[in-house]
C-alpha cells in the first residue's frame, strides 16, 4: 500500500473528514489508482473501524465520525472510478420490523455496510412484510436485513421470511437478522440465513456470501 493510501485510511479511521478529503484529492492529482484508494483506503479503513468497534476499542461516536469521513470522501473519488472498482459490492434492503420503532442498531448496520462498499436501501422503522416484499421486487437486492429490539416484534421477521417464500422471492435473497433479543437459535428457527451480533459481524457475513457467490460464478 502506498503512503498516500495509508494516509487516507488513517484519516478516515480517525474521522478527520477534511484531512481525508484533502489527502484523497492530493493522491488523485498524483495519479494514485482510484480503485486502490477505494479498496485499500476507504473500505480497509471501515473494516478497521468495524473491528475496533467489535472489540470494544472504539465506541459509537468514533464509528460515526469515521463513517462520516468516508461519506465525504466517496463523492470525491467516485468520478474517477472505473470498471470493477466503480461497482457496488452488493445491495441490501434494511429495516426495523413492523411494530418496532427502534433504529439505532439498524442505522449502525447501514453505516457499516455503506462503509464496506454496499448500497443500502433503508426502509426505516415499522416495516411490514409487504414493504420488504415490495422493496425486494423493486430493488433486487442480494440481502434482506431485519432488525428488532423487542421480543414482541421479532415475530415480524418470521412473517417476512414466510412472505418472501410465498412471493417466490426467498431464493433470490440472503436474509440476515439482528437485535437485542435475537439469537442464532431463533434465526435458524425462523429460516434466516444468518444472525449477526453486531454491525461489523453483519458486514463480514455479507462479504463472505458475496465472495462465495462470486467464486461460484467464476466456476
Amino acid at each position: 500500500m502506498s503512503d498516500a493510501i495509508a494516509t487516507i485510511r488513517d484519516w478516515v479511521i480517525r474521522g478527520k473528514k477534511n484531512e481525508a478529503v484533502a489527502a484523497t484529492r492530493e493522491a488523485l492529482e498524483r495519479g494514485v489508482d482510484p480503485g486502490a484508494i477505494m479498496k485499500d483506503g476507504l473500505i480497509a479503513a471501515m473494516s478497521v473501524v468495524g473491528a475496533k468497534y467489535s472489540s470494544g476499542e472504539f465506541f459509537l461516536p468514533q464509528m460515526m465520525i469515521a463513517a462520516r469521513a468516508m461519506t465525504e470522501v466517496v463523492p470525491v473519488l467516485k468520478p474517477h472510478l472505473v470498471g470493477e472498482a466503480a461497482e457496488i459490492r452488493g445491495k441490501a434492503v434494511l429495516g426495523t420490523v413492523q411494530g418496532d420503532f427502534h433504529d439505532i442498531g439498524k442505522n449502525i448496520v447501514r453505516m457499516m455496510l455503506e462503509g464496506g462498499g454496499y448500497q443500502v436501501v433503508d426502509l426505516g422503522v415499522d416495516v411490514s412484510a409487504d414493504m420488504f416484499i415490495e422493496a425486494v421486487r423493486k430493488e433486487a437486492p442480494q440481502f434482506v436485513l431485519m432488525s428488532a429490539l423487542i421480543t414482541l416484534t421479532m415475530e415480524g421477521m418470521r412473517r417476512t421470511i414466510a412472505a418472501l417464500e410465498e412471493a417466490g422471492l426467498r431464493s433470490s435473497v440472503r436474509v440476515g437478522v439482528g437485535g437485542a433479543p435475537l439469537t442464532h437459535k431463533y434465526a435458524a428457527e425462523i429460516g434466516a440465513d444468518f444472525y449477526s451480533e453486531d454491525a461489523y459481524e453483519c458486514v463480514q457475513a455479507c462479504n463472505r456470501m458475496i465472495d462465495s457467490a462470486r467464486a461460484e460464478a467464476r466456476g
Binding site: G56, I150, T151
Partner: protein, 361 residues
Amino acid sequence: MTPRERVLTALKRGQPDMVPWIENDVEEEMQVRVMGGRTDFTPGELCRALGMDGFGYHFPSGLSASDGQSIQTTGTSGKEAWYYPQRITFDFTPPWIAEMGTDPSDGRTYVKHGLLTSRESLELFDRFLPDPDHPARYEKVAEWIEKYREDYAVFARIRLGGASTFESMGLDVFSIMMYDDPDLVKEVHRRFSEWSARVVQHLNKMDFDFIWANDDHADNKMPWVSTEMWEEFMKPYQMLVANEIRKPWIFHSDGNLFPLLDGLLTLGMSAIHPVQPAAMDINQLKAKYGDKVCIVGNIDLDYTLPRGTEAEVEAEVRDRIEKVGKGGGYMISSANSITDYCKLENVWAMSRAIDKYRRYT
C-alpha cells in the same frame, strides 16, 4: 418487616427478612390484566395481588389503560399536562425534545428524531421543559403518596439527563457534535441535568422512599460512549443531579454497563438496575460490585417472561434468589419492567416463585 423496610434494607445492601420484589414499571395494560380487567384498583392492591414491595410509575386509576410512559408532549398543553396530571403518577421525568411518532396499533409514542441539533435549537428548552418549581404536580403527587402508600416503598422516577440528551439530540447528532461542537453537547446535558436537579430538590421534601433514575447508556454489547467520553461529556452534569439526591436511589440503564461501571459508581447510587441477562452476567456483577451497590433485576425479558414456560420462570427466579440474593443487597425484578407483552401466566409464575423462594432462613 414491612415491604417498605424490606426494600430500604436491601438498598443499603443489607439482608431483609425476604428478597424484595420491585419493578421499575408494570405497564398499564398488564396491570389491568393482572387485576382481572379492573381499572379502579389502587397501587397497593396491585402490589398485594402480585406480592411486590413497592410502586412508582403510573396507574390507570379508573380510566381506560393506555401508554403513559412519561410526558412526551410539546408546547403549553404539554406543560399543563405535566403540572396537572390526570391519572395517578409518580413520574418526574422531563419530556423528550423530539419529534414524536405514534404507533397506530396501540397509541404508544416513540422518538422519531431529536430536535436539539444546533445552537439555535436550544431555544426549544423553554418551549418544552415545564417549570420545575411549579407546585401543582408536587402537591398532587404528595396527595397520592399519602392516600396510597400504605406500608409499601414508594419511588419517583427521574432522569439524570443522559437519556434526555441522547434522545433529544439523536445518537448520531450527539456523536458527531462531540467532535464538531463539544460545548453544544455539554450545554444540552447541563440544561437537562439542572432541570432534574431542581426537581430532585422538591422530591427530597416529599414522602418518597427512594428515587429511580432512568438513563440508558448502553446496548447489549457495550456502552455508547467510553469512560473518558462519559467523564468529559456527561459525568459533570449527572453529578449535579446525583449531588442533590438525599434519598437512596437506583440507577437504571439497559445494556452492558461493565466497561463504564467504575465511573458510574462514582455518582453514588445505592443500586444498579436492570442487569439484562443478555448483556451482563449478574453473578460477575455480584462478585465484583456486590459490596458497593445493591443489585436489582435480571429476570429475562427477551425470552423467559414473554416466551418461556412457567417452569422456566420459576427456575430463573429460584436461581437468582439463591445465588444473587445470598447475603442480601439484592432485589428481584424483571430485566427492565413488566411489559404488556409478557405472558400473563408467566407474571403469575414469577409471583408464585418469588413467594416460594424469597424467604431468608
